[in-house]
């Protein structure tokens, strides 16, 4: 069964901006799914429509087979959402916020209190439960929104940039927590600008750009499609110019850093051999960018170029009439 299924979803805002242009997307039950896209691609609008915060212009959206047009209450009961922006009452305490949220989903007060303790402790907020939420740090506020979204133990958890502004240590503990939730059966849809996060956590991925899904695949399959990777080699001795390595594109970033593009058919051993024969001693190496980031940039830039080509074709066709 699909946790989420959308067909032909379009959204045109009153100011004429077309945020979604016929999105089709399925997310299987139990999946940990990445929905990626540049700013303004339509991710938040898509989430807004699914959670009923945005009115759609056309199309169909179903959450666990519940149509959001005809079975909205049942659909919403399945969803927990962590939005991009803080949207809790800053003058209430974390404890009150999560207990009330449980109440809005019909969770009786005694159960809500138990769950509040459980989730606030798991997200390391129990000590802060009685203070005014405005006083929490950015990372704590994000964790509070996750605790709030889990209070009714939703079958589908939608996280819109949940780790934005969170330090690395907390981010990694949040990853472990989300993996655990997913392992217990909760379907998770994640949007993030940290592509390492998506690559680490998610099994499936969709990339949205200009209101259209431009890619939808398994994460592993998508990463395998990367033909060329760029590596940065830190070298022991200072270089004046990039060495000529036949069959490779090289570039000197600075006198101790060499950039080399390696296609998927070539082995890294070959590169090391060539560098050694050129008298270059490598002290360390790393990917220039995250692999997913590389694919993401190509898809997004490619999508933008295709859209621009289509627009100019349309303009030309219009001019001929």
């Amino acid at each position: 069964m699909n946790a989420l299924s959308v067909r032909g979803l379009t959204k045109t805002y009153r100011n004429g901006v077309q945020a979604l242009r016929g999105v089709d997307l399925d997310v299987e039950q139990g999946d940990f799914f990445a929905l990626l896209g540049p700013n303004g691609a339509g991710k938040t609008t898509l989430i807004g429509i699914i959670t009923s915060l945005v009115n759609k212009t056309a199309g169909v959206a179903r959450v666990f087979e519940h149509d959001v047009d005809t079975q909205l209450e049942a659909a919403k009961a399945c969803i927990g959402v962590v939005p991009q922006e803080f949207n809790f009452n800053m003058f209430e305490t974390p404890y009150t916020i999560v207990v009330n949220q449980a109440g809005f989903y019909g969770i009786a007060r005694p159960v809500a209190r138990e769950r509040a303790e459980k989730y606030l402790k798991q997200l390391q907020l129990w000590d802060k439960r009685s203070g005014i939420s405005r006083g929490l740090s950015g990372g704590m506020k994000r964790r509070l929104m996750i605790a709030r979204a889990l209070m009714h133990e939703p079958r589908l958890l939608i996280l819109d940039e949940p780790t934005a502004g969170v330090d690395i240590e907390i981010r990694r503990s949040m990853w472990d927590f989300l993996r655990e939730i997913n392992a217990r059966g909760t379907t998770i849809i994640l949007t993030t600008h940290y592509l390492e996060e998506a690559e680490t956590l998610c099994r499936n991925i969709a990339i949205i750009n200009g209101g259209r899904i431009v890619e939808r695949d398994r994460m592993s399959s998508l990463l395998r499609r990367l033909n060329v990777e760029t590596f940065l080699f830190n070298v022991r001795d200072s270089l004046k110019a990039a060495p000529e390595l036949e069959g490779y594109v090289t570039n000197l970033v600075d006198d101790h850093t060499l950039e080399v593009e390696v296609s998927k058919e070539e082995s890294l051993n070959e590169i090391f051999a060539r560098l050694s024969s050129a008298g270059i001693v490598v002290t360390s190496m790393r990917n220039k960018v995250n692999r997913l980031e590389e694919i993401f940039m190509r898809l997004v830039e490619g999508g933008a170029a295709r859209a621009a080509a289509k627009d100019s074709a349309r303009a030309l066709a219009g001019g001929g009439r």
């Binding site: 069964m1 915060l53 519940h66 049942a74 919403k76």
Partner: protein, 269 residues
């Protein structure tokens, strides 16, 4: 519900969800009223004390009798009603607009609670504050004058209908308001003049014919007089008509608020 959804979904009793959700909204509103009692309860009590001290005790002595009653006794029901109106309205407009402004209204909008229940929950929150402040102002009144109650049931019904009506009007204001100025416009430029010209401090029998006819167009006149009738047994308007008007206003406002929420007016893109 499709067969697949039915098979997989855990059984959820939506009536229970709604009842608990409704209680939660009311509890949250009550929590807000008591948390900021210095803003929600005290100002109306202070205002009532001033009205009784100045209009009742000082000026009232010179006014003498109004509608067959001591002036302080005559204005007491109107002052109670005035505090109920402003507080029921003020509670919902401030709370719901605050939730919109702070975006925490989304907590409710993403929940499975239907819009009619959200409107109802906020309206009851407004009624709770209206009644709390009304009770406090009644106690103040008893310090200054003797309050007799001719028709207790009518007092209660008038209080509830008025409170519900203005709580819903406050909700409507909050839905359309885009900034704090727009939250204050209606109370300052509509509600206050209508309340002052609504027979709180005088009987409209004192007015010239044209002003009396104009007063009949003021809905607050009917509410104040229905309430006063419950206390003193006197009214400037037809009491049955006043109750019918209040009930109709409450039903119409509730329907409008729910319809606007369903459309997403002021809350959804």
């Amino acid at each position: 519900m499709s067969a697949a959804a039915e098979a997989a979904a855990p059984a959820v009793n939506m009536s229970v969800v709604r009842w608990i959700g409704f209680k939660t909204i009311v509890i949250r509103e009550f929590g807000r009223i008591t948390r900021i009692w210095g803003q929600t309860i005290v100002p109306s009590v202070v205002t009532a004390v001033l009205y009784f001290a100045i209009f009742g005790s000082l000026i009232g002595r010179r006014v003498g009798v109004m509608g067959g009653f001591d002036y302080k006794q005559y204005i007491a029901p109107g002052l109670i009603m005035m505090s109920v109106i402003t507080n029921s309205y003020g509670n919902v407009v401030a709370s719901f607009f605050g939730a919109k402004f702070g975006k925490h209204v989304e907590e409710l909008l993403v929940s499975p609670l239907p819009n009619w229940l959200i409107v109802g929950g906020y309206a009851v929150g407004g009624v709770v504050r209206g009644l709390l402040v009304g009770a406090a102002v009644t106690i103040v009144s008893l310090v200054f004058t003797h309050l007799r109650v001719e028709h207790p049931l009518l007092v209660i019904v008038a209080l509830l209908l008025t409170s519900v009506t203005f709580a819903l009007a406050g909700f409507l204001n909050a839905l359309y308001a885009k900034n704090f100025d727009q939250v204050n416009w209606i109370p300052a430029f509509v509600l206050t003049p209508l309340t002052y010209f609504g027979g709180v401090f005088y009987s409209i029998s004192l007015l010239p014919e044209w002003a009396r006819q104009l007063s009949y167009m003021n809905p607050i006149l009917y509410m104040v007089n229905a309430f006063r009738f419950g206390f003193l047994g006197v009214s400037d308007v037809h009491v049955g008509g006043a109750f019918a008007l209040m009930a109709a206003a409450a039903v119409v406002l509730f329907s409008v608020c729910v319809a606007l929420m369903n459309r997403g007016a002021g809350i959804r893109d």
